[in-house]
């Protein structure tokens, strides 16, 4: 659950919770999120430049650490925003505002 940065929500039905839990913990999803983080941080911290050698220099290493932290923060923020907007409910075809399937994340 920590992956999507949300908190559990007693209002969410157990059924939806289980389904999303399943989907979220699916390897594909985690791998996709991780790969995007790797690519984004590579672009911000390492990429583009012609590499002088095969090591990460000090600046790059520090940048990567902060980049991962910020990327995770952004993930949380966006997750909370989608949750508050009931985007998951919309996306899953439920009446908007009716439930909080995504609240359970």
């Amino acid at each position: 659950m920590s992956f999507l940065g949300g908190r559990s929500n007693a209002n969410a039905s157990a059924v939806n919770y289980d389904k999303m839990e399943m989907a979220v913990t699916e390897l594909d999803t985690v791998t996709d999120f991780f790969n995007r983080m790797v690519s984004s941080c590579y672009t911000k911290c390492v990429g583009g430049r012609y590499p002088a050698d095969g090591d990460l220099n000090k600046g790059e290493s520090v940048c990567i650490d902060k980049c991962v932290a910020k990327y995770n923060e952004v993930q949380k923020k966006v997750g909370e925003k989608l949750q508050s907007r009931g985007a998951a409910a919309q996306a899953s075809g439920a009446a908007p505002g009716s439930g909080s399937a995504f609240g359970s994340l």
Partner: protein, 69 residues
């Protein structure tokens, strides 16, 4: 089909994170989001959702038009 919707949602989620991170975060001297970055991410997410809804509405109109021709 429900699984498909969940996957689409998660993909949209991942897309927003990627786009808004790229747009909003350019300072990597601190670990925490600055208040400016934080506001940017909120606005960026909101804008993406509204954009996506508008494209969807226009696309639906277009398809309805085509179907009735």
């Amino acid at each position: 089909i429900e699984k498909k919707q969940m996957q689409d949602f998660l993909k949209m989620y991942a897309n927003i994170v990627e786009k808004c991170f790229t747009t909003c975060c350019n300072d990597f001297t601190s670990k925490a989001l600055s208040s400016k970055e934080d506001a940017c991410v909120a606005n960026c997410t909101e804008k993406w959702l509204k954009h996506s809804e508008r494209v969807g509405a226009r696309f639906a109109e277009f398809n309805a038009e085509q179907a009735s021709q």
